[in-house]
């Protein structure tokens, strides 16, 4: 169960890195971003139909998401069942914000994911002022000119960063890849680097748009 969690988590790490790379394309302008969005759909065509790769990828992600969330809730309920009488006093020696927030942070990320998919993939509603029908790049710019949208995303990125910070290290340990002091140090450094790179990398486009460094035209 924990291995399922670790492996599906590892897939997400790979995915968010690719996703972040794609987002940074907005710095190349709306056209570069749209071209990237189009390219995702034409990848491996004509071997696969238009959008084929994207759909395959989505299926894999959904399966991984279900596996990750299901094992998380299963382990959570087992942990709750393992101590039904709570301590009156309990001092934490090593638990930190990042490790304590894995579960509630994960739930927050799940809620954010719903919002994020509705906003940019499924419904594509536009809360901003630039008309962006059928133009994903403009939709992004229009949305992130609204301060509270940026705020939601920044909060989600803090949650993501903390989740990855502990999750990457935890997954290496669960898969048995942190056998000696060097490997352990490397795993923790990797967790820190991935957490920082993703949260900062994802935060750049919304902030740049909000402060007007990237404009629609």
């Amino acid at each position: 169960m924990k291995m399922l969690m670790a492996l599906s988590g590892a897939l997400f790490v790979f995915y968010v890195l690719v996703h972040m790379y794609g987002n940074l394309k907005i710095f190349g302008g709306v056209d570069a971003f749209n071209e990237y969005a189009d390219h995702l759909r034409t990848l491996f065509t004509p071997f696969l139909p238009f959008g084929g790769f994207l759909w395959l990828f989505r299926v894999v992600l959904v399966v991984a998401l279900v596996a990750h969330a299901w094992s998380a809730f299963y382990l959570w309920s087992r942990a709750r069942g393992a101590r039904t009488t709570r301590y009156v006093a309990k001092a934490a020696a090593r638990a930190t914000v990042k490790s304590k927030m894995m579960r509630w942070g994960g739930v927050a990320l799940l809620l954010f994911l719903v919002w994020h998919l509705l906003q940019f993939t499924i419904v594509k509603f536009n809360v901003g002022s630039i008309p962006a029908e059928g133009n994903p790049g403009l939709l992004v710019i229009s949305s992130f000119q609204v301060w509270w949208v940026v705020l939601i995303y920044l909060l989600a990125l803090v949650a993501l960063g903390l989740h990855l910070y502990h999750g990457v290290w935890s997954a290496t340990q669960t898969l048995g890849w942190a056998g000696n002091a060097t490997a352990r140090r490397r795993a923790k450094t990797l967790g820190t680097v991935i957490a920082l790179v993703t949260s900062v990398g994802f935060a750049l486009p919304p902030l740049a748009i909000l402060f007007g460094f990237v404009k629609g035209s």
Binding site: M1, M3, R78, A79, R94, K100, S170, G176
Partner: protein
């Protein structure tokens, strides 16, 4: 020194417990924590009250029998067992809460005494080697590399006190189990049953109702024998290998 103790009192396994406050006076800082409780129990006896039940055996930190949650820390503030914790670690006027280990796999028998036989059943599931008993074999007949012998010895220092479970936010017994897996897995004598051992022990551990590890490290910080977190890595690695080999 004078202290205020808040102690968990529970008459039996099925009765409801509660925290009861006891003031104690003129405690010497050279007393061990358990001796301090002995003093309190003598006072309770003199008053005709039921003394507080707690576990202890060797009182020299090697048997693993004693174990109390002291102000939210397993075995109290020092890296040692409760019996080797001395009152000089506290200050005059302190308020100290004393609770039993809290885990459904360690049910309370009375007051501060818990039933840790779930650990015994995990050992019975695989934490052993099958060998003919008889006269001891010549020690040099099975060579063991120094680094492996050292790591096995480090892991074998686990006394099975249960502090790891008590401290774990998930009430997981994986540090205990990892110590046994590492101890036997590093030695030549542990190899024939290595795959079956890890699978059976983990299965028994889950069956007993312990939680899963989330790699936080509270266990290792609470461990009086300073068993490092990497024994859990070893456990996971052995489990992964055993499952892939179809155990």
């Amino acid at each position: 020194m004078n202290l205020t103790l808040k102690i968990w009192r529970q008459a039996g396994p099925t009765t409801k417990g509660e925290m009861v406050t006891y003031p104690v006076t003129e405690i010497s800082e050279d007393m061990s924590f358990l001796e301090m409780l002995d003093v309190l129990n003598e006072q309770l006896n003199a008053r005709g009250e039921e003394p507080i039940a707690f576990d202890s055996d060797c009182r020299e930190g090697i048997c693993g029998m004693c174990g109390l949650m002291i102000s939210g820390k397993a075995h109290g503030p020092e890296v040692t067992t409760t019996c080797q914790l001395h009152m000089r670690s506290f200050s005059d006027g302190d308020e100290i809460t004393v609770e039993p280990w809290r885990a459904d796999a360690f049910p309370v028998i009375k007051d501060l005494v818990v039933d840790r036989s779930s650990f015994d059943r995990i050992i019975q599931a695989g934490g052993f080697i099958s060998a003919n008993t008889g006269s001891a074999p010549e020690a040099h007949s099975v060579p063991v590399p120094k680094d492996k012998a050292d790591r096995a010895f480090m892991a074998a220092a686990c006394i099975g006190c249960g502090a790891c479970v008590a401290a774990c936010p998930n009430a997981s017994g994986m540090l205990f189990m990892g110590a046994k897996i590492t101890h036997l897995g590093e030695l030549p004598q542990g190899q024939p049953e290595r795959d079956a051992r890890v699978v059976n022990m983990v299965s028994q551990h889950d069956h007993e109702g312990f939680g899963g590890c989330t790699n936080i490290g509270e266990c290792s910080s609470a461990c009086p024998k300073e068993i490092p977190l990497d024994v859990i890595n070893q456990l996971n690695k052995d489990l992964r290998g055993a499952l892939m080999r179809g155990e």
